[in-house]
């Protein structure tokens, strides 16, 4: 740890303690209240008629039979909702030249992916709405679907959005240093094409929304399972022409989000319009089949990359070409190009070479939209970099740990700006590598591998280093014109008995935000953790903020909470000083008691101060006006991002006859700056690793050539489950950011960032003695067998 000690380093601080979640018991007892649980008076239910085709013109819609059914209240088409809803366009200004067509809630004139909602049916129950939806007759005229990234860019290709003049949404090139020279002078060059399957979030709770429009006040309340309620307040207000102050978005309990629940979805926008047309609450909960064809998908990259190394393993340069497939449109309001942009900017990030060139092509497809999902771009960049480094090491006969030690950015180089323009305040690659080496007992594993190999047992060890983007400043979205806040706000107040409420804009959807905010407030004020209640996710109540994306809850939300509590503490001490006829500086608040700062002797309880302030302020000296509510807003102002780093290792056993892989163990050493709650950090890392292993071994949205999703159910789309998951051992290095007093950085994506890269390296380490290699994820038995020459 660097920097001077502060109160956060006290031995009895809440910071750094594994405080258990205050909401865990409630959720485990089944007392959680999700959008799905809400039943509002006069509430109706929506179901959607969806396109069976990936690409087709709509010839006609006949809903007369459905409309005649008892209990059906409204049937709306794309044209009906287009009269209310202003279209949205998923582009941002800082992605120069990017293109995407306007979108509306329901298809108008043509459909561009299989599953696109075409007609909305609102009825008294969901079952009835589905019965009626089956009676809506839509006549389609099929158009050639665009489902291949090369065919999409070939001359004469069918255009998904003819008005854009092509199927490429965005192209960019990054060039730094003298790449061609670096390759010319290399002792070895390794080239590889890596394929990354499309997958999706599969949150335990699917997307759910109730829009409740009250025409008497022109007021809209949306109960929404979202990670960004403030963003949606803005969007519903602007696209439906409503006064912002009359739009309330409430995010209650949320069962997982992973970046999936912050994009604009067509059904969600439709539900708002349906409620406005009816003047009644309308509920829509995506079922699992709908989730697969409407939740954003992620990844879907083909990266061809090269690395040039000197004979001693020094990386001289890298070159990459990423072609990534998105849907028919770029998503709104964050676009579908951030992932690719982060891929090409994060390749090579842990290493100190300067010569780098990358191309990115983001290509439209007649498939579900792709966009930001946990660890946006990171797993791709990490896998590209780390497989190339491993292959170069193998070619040169250098150990994987050693080649990395020779290339990492070292402590004497910070602050360090990467060839792609990212500035790292301070990372801890050396410490992380050393710690991992010891944690996994690397030499013993290698000896065991050698011994087992002789018995025909093929084990592999893979490591992968990562750099993660956290605590984003307005440089992330704000500069591109998006109304997405990079700041967060907190209000902390004392109740009349001396307990504490904290209202904060960062939200809770399973990751433990409420817990850490409670710890920080308790610590910042000097009260018992149990005395603090945290409220999140209600735009009528909680302050405006960015909420949850890109790993910002602890680093930005936490600092906000800390500063708000510090302000409130000063206010409390000034009231206490007036009552006690002391100087505020001579007093302190500890464990809910005003104490003499020097001796620690108790003077007055916080409850007594609150009683006097709220009920007997007449007894206070003149001029004392107690302010027992304080607020604070915080935006990152120093470095544009707080980068974190770490390294993972994966140990696998490959059954070379069946292509089945047993994941034996995963180790992670990560550095997220100051750790507020080690248990929650480790839960975040483990959960992230599991999602990364899902991508590496199981999860893939499989499309047919005509754009049909072939495995859109939980029987066919394989999410990682407990039986297949290994023990995940975690260790920490702490390099707090000096940009904040708290010093916390994000940790939510670290696990996902490198898990699949370590897995690929482990499998290749296992099969390389057989002359085989694999460069596609998920690594299914079928693909392994093909790599091994069996099928």
């Amino acid at each position: 740890m660097t920097g001077a000690l502060s109160s956060l380093d006290r031995p009895n601080t809440y910071i750094g303690r594994s405080v258990s979640r205050p909401n865990a018991k409630r959720l485990l007892a089944g007392r959680g209240r999700y959008v799905t649980d809400l039943q509002l008076p006069r509430m109706l239910h929506a179901a959607f008629v969806r396109s069976p085709y990936a690409h087709a013109n709509i010839r006609s819609i006949d809903a007369s039979q459905a409309a005649a059914m008892t209990g059906v209240h409204l049937i709306a088409t794309g044209v009906d909702l287009a009269k209310l809803c202003k279209p949205w366009v998923g582009t941002l200004d800082h992605f120069a030249g990017m293109k995407s067509s306007p979108q509306l809630p329901l298809a108008v004139g043509k459909v561009v992916w299989a599953g696109q909602p075409v007609v909305a049916v609102v009825a008294e129950t969901r079952a009835l709405a589905e019965d009626a939806a089956e009676l809506v007759a839509v006549e389609f005229e099929e158009i050639d679907p665009v489902t291949d990234v090369d065919a999409a860019r070939a001359p004469g290709a069918t255009l998904i959005n003819p008005e854009l003049g092509g199927n490429v949404a965005f192209h960019t090139r990054i060039e730094s240093g003298k790449v061609d020279e670096a390759f010319r002078g290399a002792a070895a060059v390794v080239e590889e094409t890596l394929l990354f399957g499309r997958h999706t979030a599969v949150t335990l709770e699917p997307r759910a929304i109730i829009a409740d429009y009250d025409p008497s006040e022109e007021r809209l309340t949306v109960h929404h399972g979202t990670q960004t309620p403030y963003q949606f307040q803005d969007i519903y207000s602007r696209h439906y022409g409503l006064r912002e102050a009359r739009v309330r978005v409430v995010a209650p309990d949320i069962g997982g989000s992973f970046g999936m629940k912050l994009h604009v979805y067509h059904e969600d926008m439709a539900v708002v319009g349906l409620s406005m047309l009816l003047g009644r609450p309308v509920k829509f909960v995506a079922d699992r089949l709908e989730a697969f064809v409407s939740d954003i998908h992620a990844r879907d990259h083909r990266v061809t990359a090269r690395i040039a190394v000197a004979a001693d393993g020094t990386i001289r340069g890298m070159e990459a070409d990423d072609v990534t497939a998105i849907g028919p449109y770029s998503t709104y309001p964050r676009t579908s190009v951030v992932e690719g942009n982060q891929v090409v900017r994060l390749i090579g990030a842990p290493y100190r070479f300067r010569d780098y060139r990358a191309d990115l092509n983001v290509v439209f497809q007649n498939k579900v939209q792709t966009s930001q999902y946990r660890a946006v771009g990171h797993p791709i960049a990490c896998a590209v970099t780390e497989t190339l480094v491993d292959r170069a090491a193998r070619k040169l006969g250098i150990d994987p740990f050693e080649i990395r030690r020779r290339n990492i950015i070292t402590q004497d180089m910070y602050p360090y700006t990467s060839p792609t323009g990212y500035t790292f305040e301070r990372l801890s690659h050396e410490a992380c590598l050393d710690k991992l080496h010891a944690l996994m007992d690397y030499p013993r594993l290698r000896l065991e591998q050698e011994a087992l190999r002789k018995q025909g047992i093929h084990r592999g060890i893979g490591i992968a280093m990562f750099v993660e983007i956290t605590n984003p400043s307005p440089a992330f979205y704000g500069v591109g014109g998006a109304r997405i806040s990079a700041q967060d706000g907190a209000i902390v107040k004392i109740t009349p008995s001396g307990e504490v409420h904290c209202l904060i804009s960062v939200g809770e959807h399973g990751q433990g935000t409420e817990t850490i905010v409670g710890q920080i407030v308790a610590d910042g004020l000097g009260v018992d953790h149990g005395a603090v209640r945290v409220f999140t996710g209600d735009t009528d109540v909680t302050p405006h903020g960015g909420a949850n994306w890109a790993c910002r809850g602890a680093g930005i939300g936490g600092e906000t909470a800390l500063q708000a509590s510090r302000t409130l503490k000063r206010n409390i001490l000034s009231v206490a000083a007036a009552i006690l006829q002391a100087r505020p500086d001579d007093l302190d608040l500890r464990n809910g008691e005003i104490v003499d700062a020097a001796t620690g002797s108790a003077r007055l309880s916080l409850g007594e101060i609150a009683r006097i302030a709220y009920f007997r302020s007449d007894t206070l000296p003149g001029g004392v006006s107690p302010q027992l509510t304080a607020s604070h807003h915080y935006t990152p102002k120093g470095f544009p991002f707080a980068f974190t780093n770490g390294v993972q290792a994966c140990h696998v056993e490959v059954d070379v006859e069946t292509g089945f892989i047993k994941i034996l163990k995963v180790w992670v050493v990560e550095d997220c700056g100051r750790i507020i709650n080690p248990m929650l950090v480790e839960e975040q890392v483990r959960g992230g690793v599991v999602q990364g292993l899902g991508a590496a071994f199981f999860e893939e949205c499989l499309y047919s050539e005509n754009g049909q999703l072939q495995n859109g159910s939980l029987a066919d789309y394989l999410v990682p489950m407990a039986c297949e998951m290994p023990d995940i051992e975690i260790a920490h290095v702490e390099t707090p950011t000096q940009d904040t007093e708290l010093g916390a950085k994000g940790c939510g994506e670290a696990g996902t960032a490198a898990a699949s890269a370590a897995a690929i390296n482990a499998v290749n380490d296992a099969i390389s003695p057989l002359g085989a290699s694999i460069s596609q994820i998920p690594m299914t038995p079928q693909r392994l067998l093909r790599a091994l020459g069996h099928a």
Binding site: T125, R126, A127, E130, D131, D287, L289, E657, T658, G659, F660, F698, L702, S704, Q710, N711, A715, D716, L718, P720, M721, C723, E724, T780, P781, Q782, L785, H790, A791
Partner: protein
């Protein structure tokens, strides 16, 4: 998705069920454990107008020896295959296969009769009853009949059950001390439908195979016996060469489909690997315990 509306009737006896079936107008389904039927209704893949719940019919329950045969009531839950001493003693192949059937929650509700009557080609127990040479006891409005498991599975979800008939019990010749059995499957995740699975049971004379039945799941529209492989091992000791002979015949009996995740060739390859491992296991057991038989 929500199921379409349907009527529900709870049958108290077989006769009660047949009467309800006869009275029904439109589609009608029998409901036992509901572990396949209810999801299928919720996905609107099926929309019967009437469900006749047969799960309360007493004489479709129970496991025991009747007239020298092990009689397993059709309503016996999958979970009971793991706990019943009679199953463990007289039909250990069912015991071996049961842990591979889905997950505990499903095993606690699903019934053996239900899975056999549904005849999902990826289900374990249909293949197992083929390997066991079991007989199926079927009741219908016209009376009771028995049929061999061989010939019962006719195609994808297609069986020898006539409309209105109910599978009431599975009858298995009790396991003999000369018998050996093995079951395994290759599934991406524990509890998933397998890419390929197989059950084998045979009678041995010391290390020599007298007769052996091999039944595969997930390699065609219905569970299927590998008759050529059975012939290849009959009367022989399971040496590596004999096992290889058996493996080499599989393409004659198995007709696996290509799907989005697995090619036909890969499924055949995996079937060969699996058969090799199962026969290898029987060979090792026979070798180690051969003197006892």
């Amino acid at each position: 998705m929500k199921a379409r509306a349907f009527e529900y009737a709870k049958a108290t006896s077989l006769q009660d069920a047949f009467d309800a079936f006869a009275r029904a107008s439109g589609d009608c389904c029998y409901l036992a454990g509901g572990q396949s039927l209810i999801p299928s209704l919720s996905l609107r893949l099926q929309a019967p107008s009437l469900l006749i719940d047969i799960s309360g019919i007493g004489d479709m329950r129970g496991v025991g020896i009747v007239d020298g045969m092990l009689r397993i009531g059709a309503l016996t839950r999958h979970a009971e295959m793991l706990t019943s001493p009679e199953i463990a003693r007289h039909a250990p192949l069912l015991r071996l296969a049961a842990p591979h059937v889905a997950h505990p929650a499903i095993r606690n509700k699903g019934t053996i009769g239900g899975t056999i009557a549904l005849a999902d080609p990826a289900a374990e127990f249909p293949a197992v009853v083929l390997a066991l040479d079991a007989e199926l006891e079927i009741a219908g409005p016209g009376g009771r009949r028995r049929t061999k498991a061989d010939g019962f599975f006719k195609g994808l979800y297609e069986t020898g059950l006539e409309p209105g008939e109910i599978l009431t019990a599975i009858l298995v010749r009790p396991f003999d001390k000369r018998d050996r059995c093995a079951f395994d499957e290759l599934a991406r995740r524990r509890g998933d439908y397998a890419i390929v699975g197989a059950g084998v049971q045979g009678r041995f004379h010391a290390e020599q195979v007298e007769a052996l039945r091999i039944a595969f799941l997930s390699v065609g529209p219905a569970p299927v016996r590998a008759r050529n492989a059975e012939s290849a091992v009959r009367g022989r000791t399971l040496s590596p060469a004999v096992i290889a002979d058996a493996q080499a015949t599989l393409h004659l009996d198995l007709d696996p489909a290509e799907d989005a995740q697995t090619s036909r060739a890969t499924r055949l390859h995996l079937a060969r690997v699996l058969l090799g491992r199962l026969l290898g296991k029987l060979a090792r057991e026979a070798r180690n315990e051969g003197g006892r038989a």
